[in-house]
Structures are given as C-alpha cells and as structure tokens.
Symmetry: C2
Amino acid sequence: MGREDFWTTDPDEQLRVGDGFVLADQPTDAVYGFDGGKSDGQKALAEGATILADLQERLFAAGADGDRRRVLLVLQAMDTAGKGGIVSHVVGAVNPGGVRYAGFKKPTEEELKHDFLWRVEKETPAAGQLGVFDRSHYEDVLIGRVRNLAPAEEIERRYGAINDWERELAFDGTTIVKVMLHLGKDEQKARLLDRLERPEKHWKYNPGDVDERLLWDSYQDAYQLVFERTSTDYAPWFVVPADRKWYARLAVQHLLIDALERLDLEWPKADYDVEAEKARLEGS
Amino acid sequence: MGREDFWTTDPDEQLRVGDGFVLADQPTDAVYGFDGGKSDGQKALAEGATILADLQERLFAAGADGDRRRVLLVLQAMDTAGKGGIVSHVVGAVNPGGVRYAGFKKPTEEELKHDFLWRVEKETPAAGQLGVFDRSHYEDVLIGRVRNLAPAEEIERRYGAINDWERELAFDGTTIVKVMLHLGKDEQKARLLDRLERPEKHWKYNPGDVDERLLWDSYQDAYQLVFERTSTDYAPWFVVPADRKWYARLAVQHLLIDALERLDLEWPKADYDVEAEKARLEGS
C-alpha cells in the first residue's frame, strides 16, 4: 500500500481554520484523513518526502528561470510540540540549496529598535525557495500579549500590520502556509519530563519552559485571538493535532505538497537552441 | 558489512593538498580508501548520514550552550562536477535548522561596490551551525583571474586577503573544510550532453557553461594557483575525485564527519537542578 491508500480523505478542511473556529474544541490527537497507524505513517512520510523533494526542485528551477513564486511555511507551537521534528523530518527531505530556514528567538537589542516585522522581512524566501519560519512574527502577539511585552494598543495594531504584510508577500508570489502544532497539555508534560530524564536531552530543556507552561491557558487564548484576527484567504492558518508526532509530520508534509502542487510547476523550457548547443559542446 | 568495513584506509592524506601538489597529476576517478563499488558506496553514505546528523546535532546543542564553534564547508568545482548533489545528498542529511547554506552567483551591482569578501562574510555560519558555501570567495581568484574581472594586482592581493580572513574565522572557532570537486574533462562533456538530452534538465544548462569549458586549461591553472597560495593548516584544501558521484559524496561526507569528530563534542550539561525541575514540572 502506498501513500494515496492511507490518505483516504483530504484533511485540508479539518486542519484549516475557518469561521467560528474554537481552538479549545480541537482535539490534539486526531489523525484526520489518514487511515493507518504509526508505521503506515512513517511509510507514507518517506514516500511523500520524494514527492516533496521533486516539487521543490521544480519550484527552484522555475525560480532560476525568472518565476517569482516561493513558499513560506510558518511554524508556531507551545514548547515540545515538535517544530524541530517538522524541520528535520519534513523540510529535511528537500535540497538544502532551495531552503531558507530562519529560527526566531527572543529579539536582540538591535531587533527591538525596529518595527517587529523588520527581522522577519529580512528572512523571507527568495523566488524558487521554500522558506521556513521556526517561530515568527506571531511571537509578537503571543508571548508579546501574554507577558505584556508591549503596550496593549501596540499589540492590537500588530494583527492588522501582520495581515497587511502577509497580503503584500502573497501578492508578490508567496504561498503562505501557517501551521500551529496543537499539543495536549498532558502530552507536553510527558515530553518535558522525557527531556529531564535523558541527559542527552538536557540541553533542550530550559526552566523557562515550565514558566511558559504555567501560562498555558493565556497562551491558548492568545492563539485563539491570532486565529480570529489573522486567518485570511491569502495566508490561512492550519491547526495540526500534534500529540502523535508521526501524524503532525505527515499533515504538514501534506500541506506543503498540496501548496506546491497547486502552483502547477513545469520544468522551464530551454531559452537556447538545444541542437546548436549540442554541436558546440561536441566541438569543445 | 558496514561503513567501517568499506573505508579501509583514511583517505585524508590522498585528498588533502600538501606541499608540491600538482592538480594535473591528480586522477578524477580514484576511490581513495574505499574498498567497494557504487552500491556499497550508497550503503555507506546512508550509514554516514545518521552519524553526520548526530554529530551536527551535538554541534548545535553545544552552540545553544555557549560554545562558539562551527564548521564551514566551501565547495568549488567546474560546472556539473556535483556540488548540488553534495548539498542535497550529504548536507541534506542533517537538520536544516542547523545548516546555513549560501550559494554565490555572479556578484550583484551592490556586491561589486564592496570588497570581495563582503558578501561571504555576511553568510558565515553562527555558533553551532554547519555552513555551506556553494561557490565562494574563491570565484574572485578563479573566474576573476581567468576572465580578468579585476586588475592583476587586485587578484594578487586577494590570496593574502583570503588567508588573513580565513585565519580569523578559524581563530574564532570555525573549522574550515575547503573542497574542490575534481572532474575529468570528458566526464563534464558527458554530463553537459545529458542535460541537453533531457528536457527536465534543460534549466540546468546554460550556454555559458560551454564558454567556461573552452577555458578549461586556464581554470585548471587558476585552481593550481589557489592551492599553492591558500592551502593552510587552518583552512586546508581537499581535492576530491568527482567522476564517480557516489564516491565524491562519500568523500565529502567523510571529511565532514572527521571534522566534527575532532571537535570532540559532548552533550551540554544541565545548568539547572534536574530534580527541582522535575518537581516543578510535576506540579504544573
């Protein structure tokens, strides 16, 4: 059985944030559209990796040929939800030469001297690239709101600023795919504990992770607001159940494959005389 | 049989550019140190991929813990020698979150207004990262010399400037691995022809490739000079036979694994009280 047999229905509708979306009602352990277990999921992921790599090469080729289109994957989540695994296992399947990865941490002094979009703007993908934001400008309305890192009016202003900015990116050829990995609170506890129990994982743990965890409900509320204010046709949000890492990876891979397939990418045509070049090469 | 069985001797000495090195004497189809064929090579590459990914995660972890070390792979070669395949099949094995890839093409107007090192400096890897230069500052003494893109004195100045710059990078914690993929002239013709014969490869072909090919000997001379002037202890050159793609990939993977193993990377120790954190987590 292959990938297509396991994906029995397109999960797009269940993953996409639509009108009346309520985060608190969303399960964290669903496997929308996928009729199989973990090992089936891993098989399907490996098969999808080849498809994704091929599509991305077509995007890259188009970019080299003057096509301005590119794709931007925005990843947001609570700690341990699996962003790193998505980057490694999903994005890792494509040629690094066509990927622009950017991880955003606590803003530096210099970044804070600029508008909050300044640092993300610099990291947007170029034509032909698959861009990945590991955290993003949404931190400025998530931790920014939860921890009052900016005045309330400024936080309010940002939702509109984000929509304006994303619309411009989209109009200029960027397919934006925004993903929130939706993790259960108990599952997070188990994963943090796992990090504490394994010395080779200690570096991944930070006491601040528990501080954030204690604000869980505030973060969920802040995400709910994000979805209400920044789910647009040109930059939709997808909420991906993340308790099962294998499913979250598959689902994000599916979203990327889907986004790239919709670009309907053809291999660029030669803009030179193929036969003449063969002759010239032969004589060289 | 595993990777270690196939690598019968360390190819380092045969790959490394030493005193009295003569590029014209180097075979392009050797498989130094590897006792096996293509399928053995592919098996060893897959095994090495896991090792490389693990080492790179350790480097990344160390970087997150304040260790300033990083690795920079510089790739240079004639067209079709397989730089793209190295990036995809060797670098592609590690987590994209820890990779900083930069491809350098013909300099832009803005880049030309600066010193030739300006654009590469901006793309150097940060602590914990594996940087990859797909072409590099060496273009400025390769095509730069062959096509007289700068005055002769300026080209001469650059070798010393490169050594000074690379020494600073090395002193600041960068392990520099410079690789020239050494391709045979006949093999290049076959690969260019292949691109012309397959429509899905047409975008990879550029009539300029034959123009460069017609200057083959001048390029080989320019490479010879590069090796004589910029092979240093702190930034050694390796000339990798590239007629067999599988071997070139294996060899570069070997060089990276070797470079990372010599860093002797340990998982960072917790800088917090593990038991206290477990208790705090339990109560959250």
